[in-house]
Symmetry: C2
Subunit: 245 residues, 2 copies
DNA sequence: GTCTATAGCATGATAGAC
DNA sequence: GTCTATCATGCTATAGAC
């Protein structure tokens, strides 16, 4: 059960080092370095630089020389960690997907009420995307650069995330808590809105919108639409947290 | 006043040739070719190929050799139309922005009712993005590749589009037609949803969602949220066109 | 107005010293 | 385990024939 963003962050405790250690262990076959501590440290630098450079100028526009001078490694050194440039994409994407699915499912596991379940799923997704935003941004923008097999996998995973939301809504409809609407289409729109948080975060920052405001806004919008006329609308009104500009 | 998509398409009558002719006239200083008919014809081929290649593999991953063999021109021939590779980005982006603003403003010009005005603005934007989808997709994905000055311009234009929606909502609030909510934040979410149509159109196609279904779904979602409890919800219900899955 | 041929250069990748 | 030096490739861009 997620309270606020800071609690979520503390609970999950996802340090860069921690992520990269997991990442190393999943890729020991591709990485030539045997000592875990040095491998993790350098991997963290490589990925950090890749995300910064690729997210600002695009992955293809980033040269490996750029990457080396930013991360502090030499060309030779870098190639102890990757087989070729495209390996970098896979390295970053694969882990993000697993983490997202795991996190969202974990936070909605033992919630029954559809209204609350939907709200929690949104919070889990939006909060996680805030926590490792460069990862999300990169995965989204460089999906087209993936080799065909992995691209298919990426599309499938994305659909899976969307299905989680679709199921929550469908259950709500079956239970008579939500109105009868197109659950699949609405899930797609939910995903589109959530994505905007990591694709255009600067904009929201300038508007003074916090990550919690953002999640709440999506929740309120959905509840107004999903809950039936009589009971719903009133229940929403006193819960709504957004204010007029 | 927009009826259905087909009528919209016919009214606007935006052929590729037509767009490229306008584009030629706006860039006579950069293009070395003097005869309008040949220039327009070749420009159409160049842009067509650029959009296809860049949208599938990314602009930087596309080489000018790719572009030449796809468009049928030679390297030398191509350089009569552009100064360098980056010129292509500008060429494509600049025109799309103008077209979007012009179209949306045109279709909401003489509508008073905020509910209807919002609905029409959404339709105009979504329908236009359907009509010249490759343009929209390209502009979105390659925005980061723009030189700083033009990048700033792109961000400003996008904000302008969003402001159109913000103003419609604000007016609705002032008139007491809409509830008091954060108009700016909601506009951003509207934009996020509309964007998804051209970023992930394949997905919607697979779901069997038409461009009209899509625009209607956004409209219904917004009306449920914006209209006040008593009168609003009922008015929406009989208008809603979406169905359960 | 369009082509072929080529200059000039930066890139991804590797070999081998330390 | 990391570095420097170097290779081969393929890129953007141009010069000059037709």
């Amino acid at each position: 059960m997620i309270q606020d963003f800071e609690t979520f962050k503390a609970e999950l405790s996802l340090s860069k080092e921690e992520i990269c250690r997991e990442l190393y262990q999943e890729n020991t076959d591709k990485i030539r370095i045997k000592k875990e501590t040095t491998a993790t440290r350098n991997l963290a630098r490589i990925i950090d630089s890749t995300l910064r450079l690729a997210n600002s100028k695009g992955f293809h526009a980033m040269t490996l020389r750029d990457l080396c001078s930013d991360s502090g490694l030499s060309m030779g050194g870098l190639y102890a960690y990757i087989r070729n440039k495209d390996d970098l994409i896979h390295l970053i994407q694969s882990h993000g997907f697993k983490l997202t699915r795991r996190t969202v499912l974990q936070y909605i596991a033992d919630i029954r009420d559809p209204v609350e379940k939907l709200s929690q799923a949104i919070r889990a997704h939006v909060f996680l995307s805030e926590l490792i935003r460069p990862w999300f941004y990169f995965s989204y923008m460089e999906a087209k650069s993936l080799p065909p097999v992995e691209k298919q996998n990426a599309v499938a995973t994305e659909r899976e995330i969307e299905t989680i939301f679709c199921n929550i809504i469908s259950e709500g409809i079956e239970q008579g808590v939500f109105r009868q609407i197109n659950a699949r289409l609405l899930s797609s729109l939910i995903k589109a809105m959530m994505q905007d948080w990591y694709l255009k975060r600067r904009k929201y920052r300038e508007q003074g919108v916090s990550v919690e405001d953002f999640a709440n806004q999506i929740r309120d919008l959905l509840q107004a639409y999903l809950l039936p006329v009589a009971s719903g609308k009133l229940a929403v009104s006193h819960k709504a947290t957004s204010s007029a500009t």
